[in-house]
């Protein structure tokens, strides 16, 4: 097997706030291969976006990437790079597509200028060259009359068009990796379908790796080949996408899949995960999902679970891997017995 494009080992990104140390990303490790689409799924506060920002070293104080964390990309450790070197990677070798296309664009420049700027900064292209390339990329992302649109300002474009502009910008330097952080969450469902199709298409054409970050399991199922599930700052499960949906191992993954209403499935009540995500300043000891889990037992409080190997290229951070029979005897989660967050 060839070396992965990006290799993250024991990434810890902590925020030193007045309320205490928020351990938002707390020992995350994973790899992305060349040309692969890896999904990270999880709910608000699980650390998925902070992981993405850490890869680009966009963490601002009071946050910092803790010593000992490693982010290896094309043979270099991003964590220890100088400012000059990291700027050379950002937007060039790794680019990012953000959730909110309006706030990611500068309102006082035309979209063409903003897309062209990427090539002027990173490839030293002339104004004319960069503009032509920008128009070419805008056309590639399916913007009709790209030449005309390039001369417009962000407010003159619809949300879907703005997201295409951001994608064009991300593709300008044909990066090795694109990080897409909830790229379709702010869009309507028919526009979301257009954008997802576009991303999948472009990836086939250009061969870029994509890190797809989302809370939407539907988006995961349709765009990724391998998935990481994050909960409370940690990776709790990793598997190939088919395997994850067919045989979720971690009770959190299981709960997440079953709590979604599915079109075409008649069900009177939705399954729920009771309770809420704990605060990052105060992760519970032992297993962080223990209070909300229907299978937890003494071991889960006593010992923080490691990532168990539970299948081929399938890992799960749940002690049930060593006592699988407990899955047949679910109990009322502790959080419900305590009388909070009732289902």
């Amino acid at each position: 097997m060839t070396a992965p494009l990006l290799s993250i080992r024991d990434l810890k990104t902590y925020f030193y706030t007045e309320a205490g140390v928020a351990r938002s990303v707390d020992g995350v490790s994973f790899d992305i291969g060349a040309g692969e689409t890896l999904g990270i799924v999880g709910e608000s506060g699980c650390g998925k976006s902070v992981t993405a920002l850490s890869i680009l070293r966009l963490i601002q104080p009071p946050g910092r990437i803790e010593p000992g964390s490693r982010i290896e990309f094309e043979g270099r450790d991003i964590v220890t790079l100088g400012d000059e070197e990291i700027r050379d990677i950002r937007g060039n070798r790794i680019s990012m597509i953000f959730q909110e296309p309006m706030s990611a664009l500068n309102p006082v420049f035309t979209v063409g200028d903003q897309v062209a700027e990427v090539a002027r900064v990173h490839a030293g292209m002339s104004k004319k060259e960069a503009w032509d390339r920008a128009v070419e990329m805008l056309a590639l992302t399916g913007i009709p009359a790209a030449e005309e649109r390039a001369k417009q300002y962000p407010h003159q474009l619809s949300g879907g068009m703005r997201q295409r502009v951001l994608i064009a910008m991300a593709l300008m330097m044909k990066p090795a990796l694109i990080i897409a952080d909830e790229p379709t969450t702010a869009l309507d469902v028919t526009i979301q379908a257009q954008i997802l199709e576009l991303l999948v298409d472009l990836q086939k054409k250009i061969g870029t790796s994509i890190l797809m970050i989302t809370h939407d399991l539907g988006v995961i199922a349709e765009t990724t080949s391998r998935v990481i599930v994050m909960y409370a700052g940690e990776v709790v499960e990793e598997a190939a996408v088919d395997e994850l949906f067919a045989k979720p191992h971690h009770p959190y993954t299981e709960g997440l899949i079953h709590s979604m209403p599915h079109i075409g499935h008649d069900q009177e009540r939705l399954n729920v995960i009771p309770g809420t995500v704990p605060a990052p300043t105060d992760w519970p000891r032992g297993c962080r999902f223990r209070d909300r889990c229907p299978y937890s037992w003494e071991l889960c409080e006593a010992e923080h679970p490691p990532l168990y190997q539970v299948g081929v290229a399938h890992t799960s951070r749940c002690h049930i891997a060593i006592e699988p029979d407990r899955r047949n005897h679910p109990h009322t989660p502790l959080v419900v017995e305590a009388g909070v967050g009732a289902a």
Binding site: A193, S259, G264, R269, T276, V277, G341
Partner: protein
């Protein structure tokens, strides 16, 4: 009052917002946010209203409560004309009709305790005072799955899902018959969303509530609604029972909308109808059928851009606004006169049928 009478009835509802320009705020046009919408909501049912941003679903919900004054049309609640009500009548009516908002942060006053937020309605409507009101607040909190002692805390101390429960307790406090739920779960995480949906379903059974449930998420609507109205550019383009709508969507827009939802199953069939372009501006909607520029119906032709399709019954209880989906009251002769070249034909793309 008989039981067959709908609880809420809306007829030809219109709401336009003026577009103003220049120093003198001259009116230069109008946005037709809601354009000739009619429907009934039966007692005890949940009518889902689904559509994309700017389709007019929220404005529709708010005009029913007269939180936004409609431009024209009729709204009746238990046979009473809502539009002609004066201030005191309207206040009394608001005891019977409540709303739950999308954003659980901005819809709760950060300076008020949870207890006083919930108590406010009790005081305004003279339902309870003093110790009785305190007891009622505690009971309401329990009913929505929160601890009674939370009454003394402030909204910022709660998570999004808990705040939405507080909003629900506030709506329930005045014992309403009808609640407009305006995207009540779209700001919430998936696992919390399921908790709140289950709570709303349980409360409906316990209190005989009638819901107008507004959402952009088709899977949430399928789960909670008995009947569904699909809106596009200010109009209801399809209205049917949930089962009919999801099994056999007739309006091409509904078909595309259903097929666009990402399916959380990697093995699922992936063919889908990808609509071209964006939703046009409601300030300048297309002529004829508002959906025609993006429509994929094989019989689409010139007539679609000239004839405004009526919302008509295509099958028992299944209404759709499409002159190309038979049966239609717009005869083939009329369509030909309007430039039509393709006679209506039944079109049910496989991609639209999930079940």
């Amino acid at each position: 009052m008989n039981d067959t009478q709908p609880l809420v009835s809306v007829r030809n509802l219109k709401k336009s917002f003026p577009i103003k320009k220049g120093v003198f705020a001259r009116e230069v046009g109008a946005v037709q946010a809601v354009n000739d919408v009619s429907f009934d909501v039966a007692r005890g049912e949940t009518l889902g209203v689904v559509g994309e941003s700017g389709c007019g679903k929220t404005t529709t919900g708010r005009t029913i409560l007269r939180l936004i004054e409609p431009t024209s049309g009729e709204i009746t609640f238990e046979g009473r004309d809502v539009r002609s009500m004066g201030t005191s009548e309207l206040r009394a009516l608001r005891r019977e009709m409540q709303i739950i908002f999308q954003d659980p942060v901005s819809s709760l006053n950060p300076r008020m305790t949870v207890g006083s937020i919930i108590r406010e309605g009790l005081t305004i409507h003279h339902l309870a005072e003093g110790a009785a009101a305190d007891a009622r607040v505690r009971q309401l909190l329990q009913e929505v799955g929160l601890r009674p002692e939370y009454a003394t805390r402030y909204p910022h101390e709660f998570s999004g899902g808990q705040r939405q429960r507080i909003g629900i307790a506030r709506a329930l406090s005045v014992e309403p018959k009808f609640i407009v739920c305006d995207e009540p779960v779209s700001a919430l995480d998936v696992s919390v969303q399921a908790q709140v949906i289950n709570l709303l379903v349980d409360l409906q059974h316990e209190h005989d509530l009638t819901y107008l449930f507004i959402a952009h998420d088709l899977s949430v609507i399928e789960h909670i609604a008995d009947r569904v109205a699909v809106m596009y550019l200010g109009k209801v383009v399809e209205l049917a029972t949930r089962d009919d709508l999801y099994r056999e969507p007739l309006m091409p827009y509904t078909q595309a909308l259903l097929s666009a939802v990402p399916v959380a199953d990697p093995k699922a069939r992936k063919d889908r109808i990808i609509l071209q372009g964006d939703v046009p501006s409601p300030a300048n909607p297309p002529s004829g059928c508002v959906f025609h520029p993006r429509c994929h119906h094989p019989a689409k032709d010139e007539a679609c851009s000239r004839i405004v399709p009526p919302l008509e019954e295509k099958a028992p209880g299944h209404f759709a606004a499409c002159i190309k989906q038979p049966p239609t009251t717009i005869s083939w002769e009329q369509q030909k006169q309007a430039g039509g070249v393709h006679p209506p034909e039944r079109y049910l793309p496989l991609a639209a049928v999930h079940a």
